[in-house]
């Protein structure tokens, strides 16, 4: 008797687990009559949560503003958040859940290249649309992804050009050991060598390395006049703290960083970073009317102590660009929106200046700004391009890149 009771119980419990697991399968209605649903796919837990929170906040701010302004094509935007948990496979699972099970065709999301690469084929297979808001290493263009961050020729290449113009001759390349620094350094080496200058050294640190004594010794031995820094995350904090413990300032070793924005300056310390250079498309101090409004709205929404940064601004732009594309297409259907994007007419008067989606490679044309960290923790522009720079993710328009064999992948 009891036997049956127990196996019955186990079976019931299992069935319940299954049912719990499958709830929501039937609901694939993406939007009711007066709302349109989009997905926000970012890491809310894990090591990337700190960075991605700022991007997520910017996206929510844009959605809120648009809704208050009457929505898109008369519909209010609803969003569904999914946690990618700083793990590429979770991103893949969640992306598929959003675009298939939940029937959402437009997703704003990802930060790391590994998460973007893991979801790329999912967006292509389901013909959905991903807006990716972070600068990255280039060498990619998918017809189902709109890249609103900088391609290498809108961040790395102009920064090196600027340094070469300023008369720097010995470059030391330091990065975290993953795909962005390695690809960036491959590009930088080709560019520096084509200009007849020297790469004095190239070092990679583990993602969570905290001891930089060996690397600093190598820098001292190589005697570079500028360090190109592509460290990411906690590595930056340790590296700059240990440099400052040895009393090295930007006068001794100038650095040019590609992953340090306002948020990172706050964590590392403005006194340590004072005078060092960075390269982005946008700073909190960028002097445009739109930016004043954006910074004020961001601080009003999330607190006076919060800072805006390039990735956050690119995420904010992404939502508005999607809105513009929908309005141009007069539809929310992915194929119509993509057709509108491919026309090359979709642009937005963004805080960084006017940005336009390139119809060919779906990256943005955007202005480039070299900035210098000041002791108030903000970054101030020291140089900017006169006009927006056209995106060139494969660097096909640069002779030295073509010569060095940096070419589109087959």
């Amino acid at each position: 008797m009891k036997k049956r009771v127990i196996s019955g119980l186990i079976a019931t419990m299992l069935t319940m687990t299954m049912v719990v697991g499958m709830t929501g399968c039937g609901s694939s209605d993406s939007s009711s009559s007066d709302t349109v649903k989009v997905g926000l796919l970012h890491s809310m837990t894990g090591s990337m949560a700190i960075s991605e929170q700022a991007v997520l906040d910017a996206e929510k701010l844009a959605i809120k503003e648009i809704n208050e302004d009457g929505g898109v094509l008369g519909k209010q935007i609803e969003y569904q958040e999914e946690d990618g948990a700083s793990d590429a496979s979770t991103f893949a699972t969640k992306a598929e859940k959003l675009v298939d099970q939940d029937g959402i065709s437009t997703v704003f999301g990802c930060w790391t290249s590994s998460s973007r690469k893991a979801v790329k084929s999912i967006f292509e297979d389901y013909n959905a649309l991903l807006f990716y808001p972070v600068q990255y290493e280039g060498m990619e263009s998918s017809s189902n992804i709109v890249y609103t961050g900088a391609a290498p020729n809108q961040q790395i290449v102009p920064a090196i050009e600027y340094l070469l113009d300023q008369g720097y001759t010995r470059f030391f390349l330091l990065g975290s050991d993953y795909v962005f620094p390695r690809t960036a350094n491959m590009i930088i080496k080709a560019q520096v060598e084509a200009a007849g200058q020297t790469v004095a050294g190239e070092e990679y640190a583990d993602m969570d390395q905290t001891d930089f004594a060996a690397i600093i010794a190598k820098i001292e031995a190589a005697q570079p006049d500028v360090i190109i820094n592509t460290l990411n995350g906690t590595g930056n904090v340790s590296f700059f703290k240990q440099m400052s413990e040895k009393n090295y300032t930007s006068e001794d070793y100038m650095t040019m960083s590609f992953s340090i924005a306002e948020e990172e300056v706050a964590t590392i310390g403005a006194d340590i970073l004072n005078g060092h250079m960075v390269s982005w498309n946008y700073y909190q101090t960028t002097d445009t009317e739109k930016n004043k409004k954006f910074v004020a709205a961001y601080k009003a929404e999330y607190g006076e102590d919060r800072v805006t940064s390039d990735p956050a601004e690119a995420a904010y732009d992404a939502v508005y660009l999607w809105k513009a594309a929908c309005e141009e297409a007069e539809s929310f259907e992915v194929k119509d929106v993509l057709a509108a994007i491919d026309s090359g007419k979709i642009s937005f008067d963004a805080p960084e200046g006017t940005v336009t989606i390139d119809g060919e490679n779906q990256h943005l044309s955007k202005p480039v700004r070299i900035g210098q960290v000041q002791d108030d923790g903000l970054i101030y522009e020291v140089y900017s391009t006169d006009a927006p720079v056209e995106p060139d993710p494969y660097l096909t328009t640069y002779d030295w890149a073509v010569k060095a064999g940096i070419k589109p992948l087959e």
Binding site: K2, K3, I6, S7, L9, I10, A11, M13, L14, T15, T17, M18, V20, G21, M22, T23, G24, C25, S28, M44, T45, Q80, E81, E82, D83, A85, D87, A88, S89, T90, A92, T93, K94, E96, K97, V99, D100, Q101, T112, S113, S114, K117, A118, K120, S121, I122, D125, M139, D177, Y178, V179, R182, T183, M186, Y204, D206, M207, G405, L409, E410
Partner: protein, 359 residues
């Protein structure tokens, strides 16, 4: 005593039969392919959980590094699929890394039979060699766990550092499946095929594990767990038994990883991290270690919780919920979900009905 043993087994067989039945019909009932994909991934996790249960639940060796074998299987399968889809061209990360030819050690992965053999052979040989040295040196308990962690960490660093051979921390992406593209309604037939093949593998792994643990072999594993020295002095070559079960477990984990790639479409080194390996241990602990069915239930239960909890308003706190489930299991329900139904609940009912009889 004997009767109880048989009855316990019957319970899990019925339970497994119910799971298999539900899984078998689920792709026909569920319209969204992503949910089917997810259930497929859960089946792969179950295979890994069974593998881990064999060495932890039965033999008492807590491996905190099974991610390495999961990934070896995964990378092997992913590379075969990638090369097949590329039609002879090398992968994008090899081109970015400046290679023009396929590295020699990836050559075998151009053919399916060789790739299949590699999926079994590479983790098998690696685990066999590691096991040989570890068990010969009589390393056990927490030291064994630490060594498995260290090896996983080493493998992780190796895969990250050699990005032109392994894809670095992006891993191998854009992978279809053995049966072609499985995404979207148009490719449902491919997905069904893949799903049922995976289910078949899960059944085979379950039967194999059951076959082993219900023989004298299984009794010996438990004997090693509960009193290794006694077993040794009874004349059994403990090391060989441990090494065999460790190697078998590695191979099963690799098979799980290889199937996982088919559903997931990519494999990254994050599946090789220590934290992911510990997640696997949580599946087994929550389901009920020392029972094969417990491993399967645990893998499904925890992953379904993750899948459903980690969106919307719960997204920020879902990891705490999983953590609490794990802690509560360890403190109050050491037998996991299976233990609750097998011992704790019957005991409660017995006590209750006993009281009633007295009254």
């Amino acid at each position: 005593m004997k009767k109880t043993a048989i009855y316990k087994e019957k319970g899990s067989h019925i339970c497994f039969a119910v799971i298999v039945l539900l899984l078998a019909i689920s792709p026909l009932l569920i319209s969204s392919t992503s949910m089917v994909q997810f259930l497929g991934k859960c089946m792969c996790y179950s295979i890994v959980a069974i593998a881990l249960d064999l060495i932890w639940g039965y033999t008492g060796m807590l491996s905190l590094g099974h991610g390495i074998y999961f990934c070896l299987g995964g990378y092997a399968m992913a590379m075969y699929l990638r090369l097949r889809d590329n039609g002879g061209k090398i992968t994008d990360f090899m081109q970015t890394g400046g290679l023009s030819d396929l590295p020699t050690f990836w050559k075998p992965f151009e053919s399916l039979p060789l790739a299949m053999i590699a999926i079994i052979l590479v983790p098998g040989v690696l685990a066999g060699v590691i096991g040989f040295f570890v068990f010969r040196s009589r390393i056990k308990g927490v030291y064994f766990s630490i060594i498995t962690q260290a090896l996983t960490w080493a493998a992780y660093s190796l895969f990250i550092a050699n990005s032109k051979y392994t894809g670095g921390n992006n891993g191998i992406t854009d992978v279809s499946s053995l049966f072609g593209n499985t995404r979207g309604p148009a490719n449902k037939s491919n997905l069904l095929l893949l799903f049922w093949v995976t289910l078949l593998v899960l059944i085979m792994v379950y039967v194999l594990a059951m076959f082993l643990v219900n023989r004298k072999f299984g009794k010996l594993l438990i004997a090693i767990r509960d009193g290794e020295n006694r077993t040794f002095f009874s004349g059994y070559c403990v090391n060989n038994y441990k090494n065999f079960v460790y190697t078998l477990s590695a191979i099963l984990a690799a098979i799980g990883g290889a199937l996982f790639v088919n559903f997931n479409g990519s494999i990254t080194p994050s599946q090789m991290t220590i934290s992911y390996s510990i997640t696997m241990v949580i599946w087994v602990a929550v389901g009920g270690r020392g029972t094969i069915i417990g491993a399967v239930i645990g893998a499904f239960f925890i992953n379904m919780c993750e899948y459903n909890l980690s969106s919307g308003s719960l997204a920020v706190i879902w990891q705490y919920i999983i953590g609490i489930i794990f802690c509560v299991t360890i403190v109050f329900f050491q037998g996991g979900i299976v233990g609750i139904f097998k011992t704790q609940l019957p005991a409660l009912i017995k006590r209750h009905s006993g009281k009633e009889e007295v009254a």
